[in-house]
């Protein structure tokens, strides 16, 4: 007996395959995507009651193709009414589901669809939403609740994204190189954003949101299976696994954040750590170095330490130096400063942080204040650290981060403190 969860997994896995078949046959991506979504919803209702069809994929293709046929017929009828020079109405069998609609096992449209949904003409929010629906097979309601917006808002975002794609009139095919590589970078970034959106979610009302993490891992796994030799794909998958491995330990029962150094490492997901470490070790040995691989390597060094004090900080510092060279950005500098502090002492770390004060992107950012507070605390300047924690707490727009920062400040409130 299959559970609803099994059905959901199966539907999400089949969604891009079914959509690929339809788009290839009917071309209109936006209408096909709606038809597939309707077929998925129908399956979610019928399969648990009536049992799984012999070929779930063929079932979905048939149902979705029927929707498309109905819609095209009614469009033709409308056009015929409007236009006296009526267009030739295609014969019925032109739209009937053909035998052999099953995908060849060696053919997978997931990557083509991902590249389409992450088209640079779309805003990042639209890329995320469309990817989750068209490739991830999530319903609009599920995506809306994950992003904590009304369903109508999310529906509008998705429909607008599809309209924008229609306007660009791009063919449903893999773009040629070098465009292909560039577009793949965008896909990886979107998958990273989906992961992060779920990863920062903690508990309670955010449970739905944390499912995004699982979804991002699933999709990145699919891309890795299609492009096993791409080091950055392997790196991103490793980074997700090595980060998500810490999820059980990173929040307390009441949702408070627990710093990496204070987490109960026995709670870390060993299977994820092993898989992630294996992936990143393989990628670093074979592929061209890239930012996801470096971030994964740093995560692996953290995850491999049995206790926080066993962390190989010199190695982490070396990796951050490389990362600053490959993909310089202020967030990297921020973490680099922590590694410098751990190896060369807090004052050296604070000196590196000072270089960010001139950066408009960072100067008023709570993360800069938070890291500075940590390093001041390390340096023993508790009064300055406390006031910096409180500045960071005021600046953050995250409730759990605010609670964490206020708790750090409270710890430093000594008896003789004013």
């Amino acid at each position: 007996m299959r559970s609803d969860a099994d059905h959901v997994d199966l539907l999400r896995r089949l969604a891009p395959q079914v959509l690929g078949v339809l788009v290839r046959r009917f071309e209109q991506f936006d209408a096909c995507e709606d038809a597939v979504q309707e077929a998925l919803l129908a399956a979610a209702v019928q399969w648990p009651q009536e049992g799984l069809p012999d070929s779930p994929q063929a079932w979905l293709i048939t149902v979705a193709a029927r929707r498309m046929t109905d819609q095209l017929r009614s469009e033709h009828a409308r056009r015929r009414r409007e236009d006296t020079a009526a267009a030739q109405v295609p014969a019925d069998d032109g739209f009937a589901p053909a035998p052999g609609d099953e995908q060849r096992p060696d053919h997978d449209d997931t990557l083509t669809l991902l590249i389409l949904c992450c088209h640079p003409a779309l805003s990042p929010a639209s890329q995320l939403a469309l990817t989750l629906r068209a490739v991830g097979g999530l319903t609009t309601a599920e995506i809306a609740s994950a992003f904590l917006v009304p369903e109508a808002t999310m529906a509008q975002r998705i429909s607008r994204a599809k309209q924008s794609l229609k306007a660009t009139d791009i063919p449903f095919a893999m773009p040629p190189e070098p465009e292909r590589s560039e577009r793949l970078r965008v896909v990886l970034h979107v998958l990273y954003l989906i992961f992060n959106e779920g990863y920062i979610a903690s508990s309670g009302p955010d449970l739905q949101r944390s499912e995004l993490t699982r979804e991002a891992i699933r999709l990145t796994r699919a891309v890795h299976a299609l492009l096993p030799d791409d080091g950055e794909v392997a790196g991103l998958l490793a980074l997700m696994l090595l980060s998500d491995a810490r999820r059980p330990a990173r929040t307390g029962a009441d949702g408070t954040l627990i710093a990496l150094a204070e987490q109960d490492r026995a709670l870390w997901n060993r299977a994820y750590i092993e898989e992630g470490t294996g992936l990143i070790t393989g990628a670093l040995a074979r592929a061209t170095l890239g930012p996801y691989q470096l971030q994964a390597a740093i995560a692996a060094v953290h995850d491999e330490a049995p206790r926080a004090q066993d962390t190989d900080w010199p190695q982490i510092l070396a990796l951050y130096k490389l990362l600053e060279r490959v993909a310089p950005n202020p967030m990297v500098t921020l973490n680099h400063a922590v590694a410098v502090a751990m190896v060369d002492g807090p004052r050296a770390g604070l000196d590196l942080l000072a270089t960010l004060d001139a950066d408009d992107r960072m100067a008023a950012h709570h993360r800069l204040d938070a890291v500075r507070a940590h390093l001041l605390e390390m340096a023993g300047d508790h009064a300055a650290a406390r006031s910096m924690y409180l500045t960071a707490a005021r600046r953050t727009t995250s409730l759990p981060e605010q609670r964490y920062l206020e708790a750090r400040a409270a710890r430093l409130t000594g008896g003789n403190d004013p």
Binding site: S123, P124, A125, S126, A129, F147, L148, V149, P150, T153, M154, Q156, R157, I158, R160, Y199, I200, A201, S202, G204, P205, D206, R209, R246, R250, L257, I258, A259, L260, R367, A370, V371, H374, T396, T397, S398, L399, P400, E401, Q402, Y404, L405
Partner: protein, 120 residues
């Protein structure tokens, strides 16, 4: 990122919106609301009734003391709000700048607190 746009009114706001430029101002509001709906940025929003309908509740020695009218007399009062989900604070500020009442009374753009957080 979600932002609340707090829209402040004053005693003349209704008059302005009922006056000869009123129709144009309302059309501008409709156009912005349509734009936000179509872009998938609109999360919600409401208009508040006139401040004279306010009840102010305080506890005095543990007993509720209810008075009619707002807590503080001010030249400007909160007239309504919008919640938008935007790519950047610049985009949210741009919506506020174009909101027609901004020509007469200010708007505030404030980020909403998020229940998620990153480990530090």
């Amino acid at each position: 990122m979600k932002y609340m746009l707090l829209i402040y009114d004053n005693a003349q706001t209704r008059e302005t919106f009922l006056g000869e430029q009123g129709e144009g101002l309302m059309a501008e509001i409709d156009a912005i609301m349509n734009e936000l709906t179509e872009s998938g940025e609109l999360v919600g929003g409401e208009a508040l009734a006139d401040p004279s309908n306010t009840k102010t509740i305080r506890l005095v020695d543990g007993a509720p003391a209810i008075t009619d009218g707002p807590y503080a007399e001010a030249k400007e009062h909160l007239g309504g709000y919008l919640i938008v989900d935007c790519e950047s604070v610049e985009r949210a500020a741009d919506i506020a700048r174009r909101w027609p009442s901004a020509r007469f009374t200010p708007l505030e753009v404030r980020p909403l607190m998020d229940t998620s957080g990153a480990e530090m």
